[in-house]
């Protein structure tokens, strides 16, 4: 067991008596082995060994991970978002299947009268994972989360942000509101 040592899946790192198996490792028959290709890291404080991957690993959903998705349905209590990307990675599909829900209480840090004023079907949303147990729970609390691109509910053009949470359609002039994220893509 040496920190910085290059290991492949199955390589023995240490004995389970000496260290806990951390991320990228597994325990088998009292032996801690590597599960991914990478280098050994030793955490003496927690007596844990980990493998820091040198390969590209699948983007897994975990609590706190940012995701990007598209709004499928807006119901009374919940918005369903189809999860397209995790970890802001567009080059590799997330290692998960399906949709996540944003509960009305987790949309923003204020009272929400009507979810239809916050999201509309088709909107592209950045959210944070708060539970990976199905059904996956998402949250848009915080400035950086919310709608990053919305479409006009009359003519489907991309809406431009005028100010705060107000959006306007450049094609038909219709104005709408959303839970707008800090990084909204179209500014008026």
């Amino acid at each position: 067991m040496e920190p910085g040592k290059f290991v492949l899946p199955g390589d023995k790192i240490t004995l389970a008596e000496a260290f806990y198996p951390g991320p990228g490792t597994y325990e088998d028959n009292g032996i801690v082995r590597a599960a991914v290709t990478g280098v050994v890291e030793v955490d003496l404080e927690n007596r844990e060994v980990r493998v820091k991957p040198t390969v590209d690993t699948p983007p897994k959903l975990r609590e706190g991970v940012p995701i990007i998705g598209r709004v499928q349905t807006v119901k009374d209590q919940v918005v369903l978002v189809r999860i397209d990307f995790a970890h802001d990675r567009t080059d590799r599909e997330p290692a998960a299947s399906g949709v996540g829900g944003i509960h009305i209480s987790r949309v923003r840090d204020a009272y929400v009268e009507d979810l239809a004023d916050e999201f509309q079907p088709g909107d592209i949303v950045r959210a944070k994972v708060i539970s990976v147990k199905t059904p996956i729970q998402l949250s848009t609390m915080g400035e950086e989360y919310g709608v990053i691109l919305a479409y006009c509910s009359r003519c489907r053009s991309e809406l431009e942000r005028i100010k705060g949470r107000k959006l306007r359609c450049p094609a038909c002039g219709h104005t709408e509101t959303r839970k707008v994220a800090a990084g909204y893509l179209r500014e008026a």
């Binding site: 597994y26 082995r33 991914v36 290709t37 599909e93 997330p94 998960a96 299947s97």
Partner: protein
């Protein structure tokens, strides 16, 4: 395959058609990460075999009813190019390639931590560009390196190698003529760390003693394959 059977497959001084000793493998070359668009990939040359493996995922699995709530589904497709053999092979899956796909999947699945990726699919594609006997073993070898290249968590790599019976001799890694005119073929895949066998087949006739000898020899071959797999991954990911 020559029209006529060669008179003898093993010469008087015990050498094979290509000059190998009975327990000698063909030259093996493995390269990790050869395809840009795949999540993981590998290329294998074993003798005249040329094989590419690509891994995609873990990713969303459609249709939904095929998802497993507690683990990933592994899908494996073994395919031979129409130009991979002397006579044009009719493209598409046939009885043989469907069987090989199934058992290759079952040879790799025990090594993968499928429970870490619930409700997803891990897709493995193996394309045989040129076949020279022992393609299922070379395919599993390539797929295992591709899985590691994709960063999928695994218990161990899976190495595969065949042994055969030719002119009454047990030989390692039969080549095209030996496979075609020999008496038996024993492909074997294993996880070398614990010596766990994940694939074992026999085609042809052998006595129990010969079979034991063949398994022992194939295991020896897997060790050689395993070393080369490690070297390939180390070349790509070892030194910063």
């Amino acid at each position: 395959m020559p029209e006529e059977e060669p008179e003898r497959l093993i010469s008087e001084d015990g050498l094979r058609l290509d000059g190998r000793k009975p327990d000698e493998m063909r030259p093996l070359k493995i390269k990790a990460g050869v395809l840009k668009r795949a999540d993981g990939s590998a290329y294998v040359e074993l003798g005249a075999n040329r094989i590419v493996a690509a891994v995609y995922g873990p990713r969303e699995l459609h249709p939904r009813h095929k998802q497993k709530p507690d683990r990933a589904v592994v899908r494996f497709r073994y395919n031979m190019a129409p130009f991979s053999v002397d006579e044009r092979k009719r493209p598409g899956p046939d009885r043989r390639s469907i069987e090989i796909s199934k058992l290759s999947k079952e040879a790799l699945e025990p090594a993968i931590f499928t429970e870490y990726y619930p409700r997803t699919a891990i897709d493995i594609f193996v394309e045989v560009l040129q076949a020279d006997a022992g393609t299922r073993c070379a395919g599993i070898t390539a797929a295992s390196v591709a899985l590691a290249d994709a960063g999928i968590e695994m218990r161990d790599l899976v190495a595969a190698c065949a042994a055969g019976k030719v002119d009454g001799h047990i030989v390692l890694d039969p080549m095209y003529y030996e496979d075609g005119y020999g008496e038996a073929d024993v492909p074997l895949a294993m996880m070398p760390k614990e010596g766990e066998i994940t694939l074992l087949q026999m085609d042809g006739d052998m006595t129990p003693e010969e079979f034991k000898k063949a398994v022992k020899l194939a295991k020896k071959g897997c060790k050689i394959v395993y070393k080369e797999q490690r070297r390939a991954l180390k070349r790509k990911y070892g030194e910063e």
